[in-house]
Symmetry: C2
Subunit: 408 residues, 2 copies
Amino acid sequence: MDLERSPLALPFPEIPPIAGVTLRVARAQYKTWDRCDLTFVELAEGTSVAGVFTQSACASSEVELGREQVKSGTARALIVNAGNSNAFTGYRGREAVEAIQLQVSEALGCSTQQVYVSSTGVIGVPLPMDKARAGVAGALASEPCEWEDVASAINTTDTFNKGAHASAMVGDTRVELGGIIKGSGMIAPDMATMLGYIFTDADVAPAFLQELLSAANLGSFSCITVDSDTSTSDTVLAFATGKAGNARIEGWDSPGADAFAAGLTDMCRQLAQLVVRDGEGATKLIGIRVSGAANDESARRVGLSIANSPLVKTAIAGEDANWGRVVMAVGKAGEPADRDKLSIAFGGVWAARNGLPVEDYDEAPVAAHLKGQEIDIAVDLGLGEGRATIGTCDLTHGYISINADYRS
Amino acid sequence: MDLERSPLALPFPEIPPIAGVTLRVARAQYKTWDRCDLTFVELAEGTSVAGVFTQSACASSEVELGREQVKSGTARALIVNAGNSNAFTGYRGREAVEAIQLQVSEALGCSTQQVYVSSTGVIGVPLPMDKARAGVAGALASEPCEWEDVASAINTTDTFNKGAHASAMVGDTRVELGGIIKGSGMIAPDMATMLGYIFTDADVAPAFLQELLSAANLGSFSCITVDSDTSTSDTVLAFATGKAGNARIEGWDSPGADAFAAGLTDMCRQLAQLVVRDGEGATKLIGIRVSGAANDESARRVGLSIANSPLVKTAIAGEDANWGRVVMAVGKAGEPADRDKLSIAFGGVWAARNGLPVEDYDEAPVAAHLKGQEIDIAVDLGLGEGRATIGTCDLTHGYISINADYRS
């Protein structure tokens, strides 16, 4: 199935080389396609690592192993397989990952625990070990490549290559962050999975890198949704090579910790938004700003209830300022809400305030706003100080075409 | 918008008259349409009542009042307005309901608390009190009508009239149950709402009727979903006129209590399935049988996670035995699950057992099953004894057309 490039696509950004990060791609031919589908990133000795993973109770072997590996705090390599997720393949799936780890550790002279593996694609089929072996060997023998090459090689049904750049001043040292991500649903195990990788030359202690990544995740990857479906393989890893020469960031008291945290947060938000921009069938990017909730977590849940509502998403697809559907989605969220304190705005124009339609509500500017590509929905619950912003996309015939008309 | 009759529609059944129940309809003209849109059901003195209502935190005034009214246990009339849900209309919405209650109570010589009102249709517009008043007057002056007339008058975007019949032997007395329901999404406040009404001539104490209805609801209306969206107005009311002449059913020890409970449960399941059959855009009815869960409630949640997954629903629409999407939906349910104990079958054929694809899996009978209109998915979690069966429908271009292409 050929998918058209998302109308919300952004051009691939300039990302500078990150010292200590060497990018390579190869053709493992996990599917019969004419493209690179194996990514091999070599990381300098001493690289710190942190990760966040899917909450799925049926996670893949890659996720199970990765959760354990990040506890060690160090990394030397990342391998990403595209075209086969190796999920729901039992002990054979685990053996396939361990074989890759062994091959790479022997080539680089590192521990198998320092080799991180991700896989995305069809599920229920164990990763073919011969193809993986040949692919890794091919990558090892190849010339280093560019950021967009790896961004492309990790894609499956994505319609554009997704990357981001950020930087921060750590003391007197400028550190760079480069990131790539793939994903276009939230997300089908056989069609797509969110995999994100962030690389920086900053020197950051692993425990603090994990703290920062977990915090940034809460406001970025945990605040987006395409279709409410959570992959068994979702993974975001952050690698810090330490080659920039800054004094190691050990915690919040270290010089530049705030700046680095801001850069990492910026990076996560950029990457998360790119996934929504490639949402299956998406024609509009929707930002849902929830305020006045009992607390921030309650605001996030209310926002996700709105963002996951098929009726809200189809209303936006239809350019219909249907605030009744927003009321419905607030009501079903299972969070504190009071119908008579609820206010709703589209594009900054309040349609309902304190549980009543606004008397002199002017629909003309709202109709104009809804014809655009970036839609703003504000919901004030009128209860407390909790806030969250959720990113999603609309639900269109394109989503149905991708997921129903296509046969696996 | 003219909607085509659902391909899953059933013919309207024969429902006998229920003693003590008088049906009338009228044209309130809540919308500019050529049909009856106000239903007036008069109930004999001494009628018991029970109800279950939406869990929405933003429920309509009708629901708020109804929740209080059923505590009294008696009813004399039911009014259903179609075309305007009167939801999110603040104090004016409440005044409109109270005006109807007053008008009906004066006509029948009963308490306002014995007059039950439901409304379904567009939200955010207070129910026009002049139209409601004229409609009620028109109904009072009209001849009684048939079951299918009231089943039709409560509809909004429904594509067929939905009713059911059951009976039970209470001691030596045969009692009849007649029910009607409307709803085609789960459900948009401005497009549809699930409203169900059950009438019986049995003599049942209100407290026990409530106990039975609440229990039946758990296995019927709480086990269906079209699109995961919960209306602000969902209501099911059961009325028992006592005209059959049976010895009053006071509790489980009363003669015929088991038989009546079975009849009521049968009625609720029939009505619930009819709503799924009219699911917006539905082309296939899906039954999801979950077993081996930690407990029954856990099984229900896992089943609803599968039934609400856009990716599972689109796979069924595409006649694709995509069990990987079922694994994904189990994994995201937030309930106990173990990937390596999970088994999945379509149409009775196991595709995966204990976390592994079945070696000699024959897809041919599964493909044939998926081409049919009634799809069976079985999921065994391999953990405990919990069971549930969930009913839903597929997600198709029709759903998008109804909810996105249409402008309110």
